[in-house]
């Protein structure tokens, strides 16, 4: 049984070397091939000085190089940090500096971004680039091709308490926080999720979500754990292409978020695609409407649908068994295997069924905290029932019915969920204040049919400044991941204030 995350791959290489592990960019990679690529990159990283516990940032599109990067960083003994390729230079620099990453693996098409970020970073000693880099920087080297490095990978001596990954997540303070996950955390989460889903070694899983998003990442981890096949798409931008791939590879598992399912169901010719192999769909990040659930089940009657809820801090929290979907369609279910969840009141007291309160999570999937943020960590990780153990306070308010099934009520903070991604209003406001002439800014989420919530900004300008809505949006796209940029900007003379002079968002819409 695998104790370390990358042992999933070792096991699959040993037991099913010729099985197709990955289909990416129209190319097939067997487990044996993937294993060989991982050894090459891991040896390269070690030769470049990467040691146990070092952070290796992976700033790449969904690709074979990213998949290999995950397992190679682990095999070298390092902690991998998947970074969304939509990230802009300032934020990339922040993450590299905050984590003190020693290596960066990236791609030449992102050069304007990483070049700028490296200019503000001194910790990265090696930057391995897929494609041809034109940057003059001694740290730059080419991503190694198979056989480029034949050195043996030294055993870094990891145990399951070592960190496997740091995944940055948006926080209400505006500064992204690095969620620290151990090998035990991730192996446990992958085991629990794949168990309740009933994933199999003969499954063909399609991933249209970024691997920098834990929901996407776990499609890879679980697929490798099961020795299954992952069809990795860069995105869901061209749904027709994804459908063609699903038909071609007889995809059996389709993980999505509401925006993806909504785009899928809008395709008029959907019924003409032969998708009878599809046996499972999963949804998380935001709830599907009852109407969408009904439509999806009508379109794919042979496939079971799992409604789930989770957060990066512990990967997944709950799932609704498909047979419960007709009985309680709006529930996100119950805790997953090997995990305990319950509701607490404001004093931390456990509440009985039929109550409303904050959801807390106990299990080996719960993170070790936020990287070098003890205060933020203390707000989320609090002492549990057994001396010395910590449980996770989710920050999300739920209610339970009489049988203990969970229903999402609200977040305790003001984080916006757009397109399934977390958007910190503070982070967007910080970007708005960086625009010359912005006097006041407030950002909220407004309902949106496709996105779930759309980001809306209220902006008051200093005298003498004039911008169009598009000017402001474009400024934000230059600093934020595109999904964080406001969809709407409303100019106001001034923003409402509280008695203490703080900007008051209640009433804005």
């Amino acid at each position: 049984m695998a104790l370390l995350l990358h042992q999933f791959l070792d096991a699959a290489v040993a037991s099913k070397p010729a099985h197709v592990a990955l289909i990416s960019d129209k190319r097939h990679y067997t487990y044996a091939q993937l294993g060989e690529m991982v050894v090459t990159l891991a040896a390269e990283l070690q030769q470049r000085g990467v040691r146990r516990g070092d952070r290796v940032a992976l700033f790449l599109d969904n690709s074979v190089e990213l998949v290999v990067g995950v397992f190679a960083a682990l095999a070298a003994g390092a902690v991998f940090m998947p970074i969304n390729p939509l990230t802009k230079a300032d934020k990339l620099a922040y993450m590299l500096n905050d984590s003190r990453a020693t290596a960066l693996v990236t791609q030449a098409t992102l050069e304007p971004i990483y070049a700028d970020a490296l200019g503000h970073n001194k910790t990265v000693r090696s930057c391995l680039v897929v494609g041809t880099s034109t940057l003059c920087d001694a740290r730059i080297a080419s991503y190694p091709v198979i056989g480029a490095n034949n050195a043996a990978v030294a055993d870094p001596g990891l145990i399951d308490q070592d960190l496997a990954s740091i995944i940055y997540t948006s926080g209400s303070t505006g500064d992204p926080k690095g969620v620290m996950l151990t090998h035990l955390n991730m192996v446990s989460a992958a085991r629990s999720v794949s168990t309740y889903l009933g994933l199999r070694g003969d499954d063909v899983v399609i991933c249209v979500l970024p691997l920098a998003f834990d929901y996407g990442l776990y499609q890879l981890l679980m697929s490798v754990k099961l020795g299954a096949t992952l069809v990795l798409e860069r995105s869901f931008t061209f749904p027709i292409k994804v459908l063609e791939r699903m038909v071609e590879h007889r995809v059996t598992v389709f993980p999505g978020v509401p925006t993806v399912f909504s785009m899928l169901m809008n395709i008029g010719s959907l019924a003409s695609y032969e998708l009878s192999s599809l046996r499972m769909m999963t949804n998380t990040a935001a709830a599907l409407s009852e109407e969408h659930i009904r439509q999806l089940r009508g379109l794919f009657p042979q496939a079971t649908l799992f409604s789930m809820y989770g957060l990066t801090e512990c990967k997944r929290v709950t799932y609704l068994p498909p047979e419960q979907l007709d009985i309680r369609p709006t529930s996100v279910g119950r805790g997953m295997p090997n995990e305990e969840v319950w509701l607490v009141d404001d004093t931390g007291k456990r509440l009985p069924n039929g109550s409303t309160g904050e959801l807390v999570i106990r299990g080996s999937n719960v993170m070790r905290g936020y990287w070098e943020k003890p205060e933020e960590t203390a707000k989320r990780l609090k002492p549990g029932p057994i001396p010395g153990e910590m449980i996770l306070h989710s920050g999300d308010v739920f209610r339970t019915d009489d049988e203990g099934w969970l229903y999402f009520v609200a977040r305790k903070d003001d984080i916006i969920k757009s397109r399934g991604e977390k958007v910190s209003p503070r982070e967007v406001e910080n970007a708005l204040y960086a625009l010359e002439g912005v006097y006041e800014a407030a950002v909220i989420g407004v309902p949106d049919e496709l996105l779930g919530q759309a980001v809306k900004a209220f902006v008051a300008l200093k005298p003498g400044y004039g911008y169009s809505e598009r000017d402001v949006i474009k400024h934000c796209i230059g600093r934020l991941e595109n999904f964080m940029a406001p969809k709407y900007v409303e100019f106001v003379d001034a923003l409402p204030k509280t008695d203490t002079g703080k900007i008051k968002k209640t009433g804005l819409a």
Binding site: P85, L86, A89, T109, L110, P112, I113, D116, R234, S235, F236, T237, F238, P239, I240, K241, N266, I267, G268, S269, R419, L451, R470, I473, K474, H475, I477, G478, N482, F483
Partner: protein
């Protein structure tokens, strides 16, 4: 015919690009590869094409071969305009 490219390039410059990718992108460059437009951005681009050129982009036509570079857009829009 480069008129189509100019109008689309101006639209993209006005709405999406910033930084050093902006100045450089060539007519044949993929917007996706260079991260000039993301998935939501493509939906906006399609709305722009429909309004600007009076065409209707069908579901089946929402593919990179038609939309993922200035060259591809020019070829696609020209073909649609002939049909209209």
């Amino acid at each position: 015919m480069s008129d189509i490219k100019n109008q689309v390039r101006a639209y993209i410059a006005d709405n999406f690009v910033m930084g050093s990718n902006a100045a450089k992108f060539a007519d044949s460059d993929s917007f996706l590869d260079l991260h000039i437009i993301d998935s939501t951005g493509f939906l906006e681009l399609i709305t722009f094409l429909e309004e600007k050129f009076g065409i209707q982009v069908e579901d089946e036509e929402m593919i990179p071969e038609n939309l993922d570079s200035l060259d591809n857009i020019e070829a696609y829009v020209s073909k649609k305009l002939v049909k209209v």
